[in-house]
């Protein structure tokens, strides 16, 4: 009996609602041989209630480290994490009460779907009848009614994924953490689950932090994206801003700006830059005439036609609605052009683009 009382008290300490989660210079080092390597270096971001945040970056960028730090599965080397006025970084994961969806789902293999989903409620000492009711509601939400008695091994990948989500959200956590939850699913299911996860996020009305290396996933799901590389934040912003105005060349590369041109700045007028070779572009940093710069542009923003660039068609990849045409310029630069019109190998073509789509970054 006393054990039960203590449990419900500790349960009261877990927060169900909040205004904001603040990460203040969150840093995590790992011993790498004799050296200490920062897997995560000074992550500072504030997440508000209702927000869907994506941590985006290539593998090894520190995004999963950040998620594990928030969940309490990794301790911080420096910095602090605050849930409103409560400092949570010294707390173990079981005292934080965040829901987490793991990349490989981490379903308990010896428990039925019902027991898996009800586990968090059981740990919180919720009465049996209420567990029953809330598990049923959570399974309804992920559209898995009728599978209650199955073991995880009897479910498909997509169903396992939905059990993992139901298990994380049934306790109504203030924060749901998702670590590349769709990476093990096939393409069609991935698209379906994206919409599903957004829908669940809206219906809970709390916050979701979603880790992914897939820029398309981040753009389509998140309210705000945190782009990371080498343990550091490179840019934080709305999907549209990240997509059209990457903060630096690395972010641009990661967001699909596959084409890069080396050039010298000739003239700057406000946001407009004139580069050597007669190219016009948009300044994405402090540029002065004579400076070395790199210009980046997406394949989608290039077109075959009369333009300032010209070269020979090296390769054509047919892609249904359009084709990906590789054009080799005279100076050896290879351009990828997504073009509605087809081209022939070896043909000489011109490449055109709208000047505001060519982003010019200072070098060094």
């Amino acid at each position: 009996m006393p054990r039960k009382r203590r449990r419900s008290q500790s349960c009261r300490k877990l927060k169900h609602d909040f205004t904001e989660l603040r990460l203040d210079a969150v840093t995590r080092h790992f011993a790498h041989g004799a050296r200490e390597v920062a897997a995560l270096d000074g992550l500072t971001v504030t997440i508000r209630r209702g927000e869907f945040i994506a941590l985006l970056g290539p593998s090894g960028c520190g995004k999963s480290t950040a998620l594990n730090c928030i969940a309490g599965l990794l301790s911080l080397s420096a910095g602090s994490i605050w849930l409103d006025e409560l400092r949570i970084d010294p707390l173990p994961p079981e005292k934080r009460g965040f829901g987490m969806v793991f990349q490989n789902y981490a379903l308990f293999p010896h428990m039925s779907v019902r027991q898996n989903v009800g586990f968090g409620l059981r740990m919180r000492g919720v009465p049996r009848a209420e567990i029953e009711k809330r598990v049923a509601r959570a399974l309804e939400l992920v559209q898995l009614r009728g599978h209650e008695e199955k073991l995880p091994g009897q479910l498909s990948g997509g169903q396992q994924q939905r059990v993992a989500i139901a298990r994380a959200i049934v306790v109504e956590p203030p924060l749901v953490l998702m670590d590349e939850p769709l990476s093990n699913l096939d393409a069609r299911l991935r698209l379906e689950m994206r919409a599903e996860i957004r829908r669940i996020h809206r219906s809970l009305g709390r916050a979701t932090i979603y880790v992914t290396h897939d820029q398309e996933e981040a753009l389509s799901m998140a309210d705000r994206i945190v782009v990371m590389k080498d343990g550091r934040v490179r840019q934080i912003g709305a999907p549209a801003a990240i997509y059209s105005e990457p903060a630096d060349l690395d972010v641009a590369r990661f967001m699909g700006y596959r084409n890069e041109l080396a050039a010298t700045v000739e003239h700057v007028a406000g946001a407009e830059v004139m580069l050597s070779g007669g190219l016009h572009g948009r300044a994405m940093g402090a540029l002065t005439p004579g400076m070395h710069a790199r210009a980046a542009i997406r394949p989608e923003d290039l077109a075959l036609g009369t333009g300032p660039l010209a070269g020979r068609v090296e390769n054509v990849e047919y892609g249904g609605r359009d084709s990906l045409v590789d054009v080799l310029l005279a100076d050896g630069t290879r351009l990828h052009v997504r073009s509605a019109q087809s081209a022939h190998l070896g043909e000489h073509v011109g490449v055109a683009f709208a000047p505001h789509r060519l982003l010019v970054y200072p070098v060094g």
Partner: protein, 280 residues
Amino acid sequence: MRDRAVLLAAPAALLVAALFIYPFAYGLLLSFEPLKGDWLANYAQFFSSDRLWPTIGITLKLAIPATLINVGFALPIAYRMRTPSRSQKWLTTILVVPMTLGTVLIAEGMLTYFGPRGWLAQFLQLVHLYDGPIRLTHNYWGVLISLLISGFPFAFLLILSYVTGIDPVLARAAATLGAGPWAQFRHIYFPLLLPGLAMCFCLAFVQAFSVFPSAVLVGAPAGPTRVISIAAYEAAFELYDYSLASAVAMIMGFVQLAIVAAVLGARSLLYRGPVTGGKG
């Protein structure tokens, strides 16, 4: 192709037949051919003789506690050591040593250490912690300690391999759902380990039940530790009654089989699937 692949198992099957099935069948038949009396006379003698049938109880009284203690202590220690570390490597190395020593050397060591004038007794008397006589050899306790020393490493290493086979992300998932360290063990690790523990119990039990050298060397083979294997030995090499010895061996095997079957029967009721939580 597949049919021919089965042939690859033939040498092993032959070996098993030659080394296990043949002697077993031979012993079984021999046990029904007593020196005098009808075909069940050996068994009748075993269960009516005060020198013979109590050996079952004596052996069980040693083997079951020794197995329970070994498995019971190995489990928490192996659980604590589940993450690979330097101390894990050291401990496993140290624990392999008693397994390689063999029971005779362990008994030798125990006699100098635990004997009435052994180091332990001398030390306790030196610091006046305990002045009474210390009797840890040539009795029940001597054999039990010897079984613990020789059996614990085996139980530990086996359980360690089971524990490290469980995906640690499951415990982390449980932690994010509100399970503290104890609840993680109770609800995640323990149920997943239970089939392995049952298996470990069986193997450790069979090992302990066939105790022989230490029952003679550090036990009291005339009385309290007159285990069943001593009875078989006496029948064979002191009475030269091979038939009776075979009957004793058959009874010994039957008791082991009964306990193992009971444990494995209970095990079949448990969950025995993969111990990871989804796609790897």
